[in-house]
Amino acid sequence: MTAAIPTPDLQEELTGVEPATVSGRAKKRLTSRWASLAAVVIAVLWTLPTFGLLLTSFRPELAIRTSGWWNWFSDPELTLANYDDVLFGGTSLATYFVNSIVITIPSVIIPVTIACLASYAFAWMKFPFRDTIFVAVFALQIVPLQVALIPLLRIYVGADLNGTFWPLWISHTIFALPLAIFLLHNFFREVPVELMEAARVDGAGHVAIFMRIMLPLVTPAIAAFAIFQFLWVWNDLLVAITMATGAQDVQPLTARLAELVGSRGSTWHLLSAGAFVSIVVPVIVFLFLQRYFVRGLLAGSVKG
């Protein structure tokens, strides 16, 4: 913070509002200094816990057990042993990492595709009870997952799907649909009606219009929702531990990590490295696709 040189923003602010008196001006500068301080305090509070654990994950096991991470600054020593241990040792998080990927990709592709078809129909096709059904689908958003879990699990057991990835893929698809259909419908609806009519005059059917006109136009919205769904599935724990209980080879990272915390609550060399193995993918997605993520967030909250 180089406070002495006023930034263009600050200059503009100062010329825009010229407080009447000298004391008024001083007061304003004072509050803005307190404001900056408050912002910095919040930012530090929000970063420090993560930073502490990240630093811990690179410290030697003995150091972690005997001293806090802030001691690293006086005794800097880094190692990758914890990551090696947690990925390929007894906890073999590498396997669960692969499971997470296998669970997440279909759980994003399938609901997004189905939702695209349905929301196009709700936006542009005519069929009986269309609006009523649409409102009903929207209303399904209020059903908490918990209400559906036990009977769903019985259905999977009945269909002999237990222990495979199918229950996870299907459940994530179902739980994503109400919001996905609602959001994508809003975007399909925004496409100008003239485009539709022009295509119709040219003799295009619904499938052609959907594939060649609509899909390209709403791609940004689809991307936004897909990222949202990706993070949601990757970070999910509830569906994972109810639908993949007792099936070690289909459990995702989150489930395994939660187990680790339960059974070995203070093996911080494993937990810290494990936590960052699970965090790295969503954070990369977040950093690279932040704009779309924010867009999805705004659409989801302000409209839904």
Partner: protein, 312 residues
């Protein structure tokens, strides 16, 4: 996975191909082909299970004997269940208020500053982390070591207490304050969401309003109180209700931090414990129904507010 995706793509492709071949007059069939996959999944995966759960909530633990409202009666009389309800109430009141307040204040503080994008990313980043990951991060902050010679604290918060000359404490064990320490984790995650939405709303305030207020001499806190907050009221309602709903259903934090021990359980966690660990389908179903009943009024209020905002 590749097989599943290929299978799925094949089915959808086939549907599109068949529908594309059809003539105009079979419009109804075309619509059905577009809507039916979604509707079928929702019917089988949400509507039927939802109704089934309501039905089961009137039966005993193995769903074999009808017990009427007994499950609900025990939720509202049993002392450990009452603790669960109390905790849920604390969660649902504190989390949205704290997260929204911090998010709003921060959004105002960094608005139009030089480092706005970076400053926002810092608060926003926890949103991308799983609640399990967030719980591990905060368990480490709360980590407790007994206060003895030669034993150093490794948890930051206890070390700060020690530096200040105080006794270290079991943050996650001492009830009822431990619930508040769990809530801190949820606030940490959700403040970024509140900040993002509210920041967008603040930027949408017409500049002539703020300029007029500035000419009238409004600055700082009074500007915030009389111009900013009233202008973004609809967004505030959306943020508060969205976080409330998310908080009601939250389960990962309690599960990973304390497992619901030490009087920290909430309805969503108790549902899992009863249904999947203790095998009491009746009670678990009743808890799920209670959760549903708690969510409905919040969503209804949200929709009404949105309608009002639209009318204006």
């Amino acid at each position: 996975m590749a097989l599943a995706v290929a299978l799925f793509v094949g089915v959808i492709g086939l549907i599109l191909l068949v529908v594309g071949r059809a003539k105009r007059r079979v419009d109804l069939w075309q619509s059905l082909a577009f809507v039916l996959p979604a509707l079928a999944m929702l019917a089988v995966g949400l509507i039927y299970p939802g109704l089934r759960t309501m039905y089961q909530s009137f039966f005993d633990r193995t769903s074999s004997e009808f017990v009427g409202l007994d499950n609900f009666a025990s939720i509202f009389t049993d002392s450990s269940m009452l603790t669960v309800l109390r905790n849920t109430a604390i969660w649902v009141i504190l989390t949205p208020l704290l997260a929204t307040f911090i998010g709003l204040v921060y959004a105002v503080l960094v608005d139009r500053s030089r480092v706005e994008a970076a400053a926002k990313a810092v608060i926003f980043l926890p949103m991308a982390i799983s609640l399990v990951g967030a719980s591990i991060i905060w368990r480490y902050v709360y980590e407790y070591r007994p206060d003895q010679q030669n034993i150093q604290q490794v948890g930051l918060l206890n070390q700060i207490l020690v530096w200040l000359g105080m006794e270290p404490r079991h943050f996650l064990v001492d009830s009822p304050l431990n619930t508040v320490f769990l809530i801190v984790v949820m606030v940490w995650v959700q403040a970024g969401f509140a900040m993002t939405v509210l920041s967008a709303a603040i930027k949408a305030i017409p500049s002539d309003i703020t300029e007029a207020a500035q000419l009238d001499g409004l600055t700082g806190v009074r500007m915030f109180r009389y111009i900013t907050v009233p202008s973004i009221r609809p967004a505030l309602v959306v943020v508060l209700t969205t976080i409330s709903i998310g908080t009601l259903k939250v389960f990962d934090i309690v599960r990973t931090m304390t497992g619901g021990q030490f009087d920290t359980s909430v309805v969503a966690n108790e549902f899992y414990t009863q249904g999947f660990q203790l095998g009491d389908t009746g009670l678990a179903s009743a808890l799920a129904v209670v959760l549903f009943i708690l969510v409905v009024p919040i969503v209804a209020y949200n929709i009404r507010q949105l309608r009002k905002a639209d009318l204006r």
